[in-house]
């Protein structure tokens, strides 16, 4: 079947403009501005790179040499966006991938949103990028047709050239760029998107565009930035979160070798903003780090110094006895239904604060010069960096340039901009570019942490083994924030349960309550916020109820999902939940994993779980072995994914799924921070272990269901189902139910 698809009309009349430059080139983009930027941009300030302080602001640039330069506007943090989104343009543009050069765009309002978070980069840009590519192709075809004096209908584009069918003539894009640049931008209705069956690039395994630079050690990352005359800084903050500087031995520090300056930065009280601290600026990273070892600061630690994890846990146990501070959902008669249930289960689940531990420690480079400030940062959200620097230091946004570097991992950490504003605040006092590099200890102790949490659950099944009652009291964490003179509690990112969180909306008698514990711990989004722990809690507890009912865990879940096609969200911001898609991945994963069809010895087990987050539907089955002395081995994980009509780059997609699975296994097995006297106890990877190669499952099989839905992202949705799948498998293997993270807290020995 062939379908011709017309792109939707552009929302903004000016979404496409063009200009001629560099001896006849075609540029397309929201606002075309100028010449393509040097690809090797990392170590050069904009003013040096192009003399005029000129910024590229177009997505597509075709030079008369035939080189097609595409701008990647989203930050690359390892999710592969710098490869996959340009592929979308290249496909519609009919350009050979080998002819394409990709440059990282700076922060620029012309590009629209440049945040890389929430797995949103793909869904928000996919259609727009298709249209950009198709429009450019249409113009190149028109240019060739007018060149030859033939009808457009006789021409088509392929392999970076336009071909004239009747005569076999062809003209490369380079030769057409100058003419195309003079043509009017066609109406949206005259731009036809390709039929997916003709795709040559989308759906192919394409390696990361920076791989050649990565494997040869070229400068790419924020930490690799080097500017002429650059100085190196460290910034010491209070070990207890948010503490203020009382005094510091600045004179002694300034006298140390290689030290250029040392000073106190007053900072504020916003836990995710510029916090108080002491800066040391030196001639090398090592001089700064060495001087720091001599630094003596006396801190006013404030109230936070009375807080500890054990204190929070005791408080949570008390709160569990009381009604929740807020009721998030109440359906039916939960109390009555629990009392009338044939079987009930009661359980408490908990998980600790954890760190992002991105392997490249936080860093940023700032340079005040010529009445502007220029920033280089590995960031997931460059606009946040610009805003925070602007509001904290009182600099108008137009005077803040931000260059996005590659990030050595993100995981949500780099949605915050604390390290960027620190670099800027330090550089403001120094007449030179300054690179701030956090130590691993800084990074681990001054993260914006994934919040810990406590869930107190009760559930009931009826005589037929159907789930009829569900009660969850979630004790979470919140910071006190002051806005317009009024203090209020704000739960940490991912620390608030939505009333729609599964199985809310499915169980007829359902009570979801939430109570925050006020704390002084900075919190922030961590890969699949909320979902990364909620899926574990709820799918573990669903499993408990399935076993209590004597039911097969898959059948129990299929029955729970029920027969509705789409379950609407509650309220205006509610997200609809497509039950058919979830049952699709659940059945697929069960089939692929031979669910229920294997004979398993004692100590071996299979576990299943699913989760909907970030618009993706994912189900997983884990096969595990637990030795008699309690050592877990995950033998295989099978994953079924539905993220819509197309997997743009299967190589990148597999990387995201396999990476999410292993990352989730690491979080399950190892990650835990302790808090004492308002500070993190751990300091580096020796006491904050991360998963290593030996624990990676030998097999992670990934199956994609291509369904007739819009294409969505994959940086996060494969993370949440892993922990419950593994823990449910552990239960099947050993009879031990894991109710506390990390896994090392549970004795898995059996006999």
């Amino acid at each position: 079947m062939t379908t011709t698809r017309h792109p939707a009309s552009p929302g903004r009349r000016d979404f496409l403009r063009k200009s001629v430059f560099g001896g006849g080139a075609l540029v397309l983009g929201y606002f075309a501005g100028g010449a393509g930027h040097a690809v090797a941009q990392i170590a050069k300030p904009a003013t040096l790179a192009d003399g005029a302080g000129f910024k590229p602001s177009a997505f597509i640039h075709i030079g008369s040499d035939g080189i097609v330069t595409l701008v990647s506007k989203q930050p690359e943090i390892g999710q592969g966006i710098k490869t996959s989104l340009p592929m979308v343009i290249a496909e519609e543009l009919e350009v050979s991938w080998k002819d394409v050069a990709i440059v990282q765009g700076d922060l620029d309002p012309a590009y629209g949103s440049q945040s890389a978070g929430g797995s949103r980069s793909t869904p928000t840009n996919y259609t727009e990028f298709q249209r950009l590519g198709a429009t450019a192709r249409t113009m190149l075809i028109a240019a060739a047709a007018s060149n030859w004096g033939v009808p457009v209908a006789e021409c088509h584009a392929a392999d970076s050239a336009v071909h004239h069918r009747p005569t076999g003539r062809k003209l490369g894009y380079g030769a057409l760029a100058a003419t195309a640049a003079t043509l009017p931008v066609p109406d949206a209705k005259d731009v036809v998107l390709k039929d997916p069956k003709d795709y040559k690039l989308l759906g192919k395994r394409i390696g990361g565009v920076d791989n050649p630079a990565v494997v040869t050690g070229k400068p790419l990352f924020g930490i690799d930035v080097k500017l002429p005359g650059m100085l190196y800084a460290v910034y010491e903050k209070s070990p207890a979160f948010g503490g203020k500087v009382v005094s510091a031995n600045l004179d002694a520090i300034k006298a140390l070798p290689g030290v250029r300056d040392a000073f106190v930065i007053e900072g504020g009280s916003d836990l995710r903003g510029l916090l108080p601290g002491v800066a040391i600026v030196a001639e090398s990273t090592w001089a700064a780090y060495s001087a720091r070892r001599q630094l003596k600061v006396s801190w006013d630690e404030g109230q936070v110094a009375t807080e500890s994890w054990s204190g929070y846990a005791a408080r949570a146990a008390e709160l569990a006895k009381l009604p929740g501070a807020a009721v998030l959902r109440k359906d039916g008669d939960p109390v009555g239904a629990l009392a009338a249930a044939a079987k009930t289960v009661e359980a408490a689940y908990s998980y600790p604060f954890i760190s992002h531990a991105s392997i490249e420690p936080q860093n940023a480079t700032a340079w005040f010069h010529d009445d502007i400030v220029e920033l280089w940062a590995p960031t997931q959200n460059p606009a946040t960096g610009q805003n925070l620097v602007s509001s904290t230091l009182g600099i108008p946004k137009e005077k803040i340039t931000l260059h996005i570097t590659r990030s050595g991992g993100g995981f949500g950490r780099r949605l915050s901009a604390d390290y960027i504003v620190e670099a800027a605040a330090i550089a403001q006092r120094v007449k030179a570019p300054v690179k701030l590099t956090w130590s691993r200890e800084d990074d681990l102790r001054h993260d914006h942490f994934r919040a810990g949490g406590f869930h107190f659950l009760r559930g009931g099944v009826d005589a037929k083994g159907k789930l009829v009652a569900w009660h969850n009291h979630f004790v979470t964490f919140a910071n006190s924030v002051v806005r317009d003179g009024k203090a209020s509690l704000q739960t940490g990112s991912g620390g608030s349960l939505g009333g729609d969180e599964f199985p809310g909306r499915w169980v007829e008698n359902c009570l979801l309550e939430q109570t925050p514990i006020e704390c002084g711990v900075p919190m922030g989004p961590w890969r699949a916020p909320g979902s990364n722990v909620f899926a574990w809690v709820f799918h573990s507890f669903i499993d408990e109820l399935a076993h209590a009912a004597g039911r097969d865990p898959l059948d129990f879940r299929l029955e729970l999902l029920g027969e509705r096609d789409v379950v609407p969200g509650t309220g205006e911001r509610g997200v609809p939940y497509n039950v058919s898609r979830m049952k699709g991945v659940l059945r697929e994963v069960a089939r692929r994993a031979d669910w229920g069809r294997k004979k398993l010895a004692r100590g071996q087990g299979q576990g299943i779980a699913f989760h909907f987050s970030h618009l993706g539907y994912v189900a997983q089955v884990a096969d595990v072995s637990v030795s008699k002395d309690g050592v877990l081995k995950v033998d295989r994980v099978v994953v079924a994914v539905d993220i819509g009509a197309r997997i743009v780059n299967p190589s990148g997609a597999d990387n995201q799924v396999q990476g999410s699975v292993i990352d989730a296994l690491g979080a399950l097995m190892y990650q835990e921070l302790d808090i004492e006297r308002g500070r993190i106890v751990q300091s580096n990877f020796h006491d904050y272990p991360m998963i290593r190669i030996g624990d990676a499952p030998p097999r992670i099989d990934v199956h994609y269901l291509e369904t007739d839905y819009p294409v969505t992202g994959l940086g996060e949705p494969a993370f949440p189902p892993l922990a419950p799948a593994v823990c449910n498998a552990i239960f099947a293997a050993t009879g031990h139910r894991v109710r506390q993270l990390p896994l090392s807290r549970t004795d898995l020995r059996w006999s």
Partner: protein
Amino acid sequence: MTKYVLNINGAAQTVDVVPDTPLLWVLRDTLELVGTKFGCGAGHCGACTVHLNGVPTRSCMTPVSTVGRKQVTTIEGLDARGTHPLQRAWQELDVPQCGYCQAGQIMTAAALLQENPNPTDEEIEGALAGNLCRCATYLRIRAGVRRAAELAKEERSA
């Protein structure tokens, strides 16, 4: 400050630095060889791995004063054309995600293949146990080392 003549990627380089400066920071700050990465500064992550006389070594734990005449090889010098079998295998299998750890992984794996041209999965895991990959590219690292072993074998028989 003290002057040292270091042998880096086959060339003599004179640096004037404080004796306790870790080789890592001499490479990164002084010589602008930034392929060698800082991850923990304490020997736990392997991001800073270089070869000293062919032996994989944590450059963050190696004061420059102890390097002497030893041959230092960094990712930039692993192969003159950047086509070491591991570098080719890494691209063929699209191993990197963020890529930050990969220089350390490749340098560690290169020393393994030098010693043991045909490692088993257990041997690969043993050799790379000290190299963290936060993006968890471990399956492809394993496959990448196996593929590089094949490529190296083809090279030898060619």
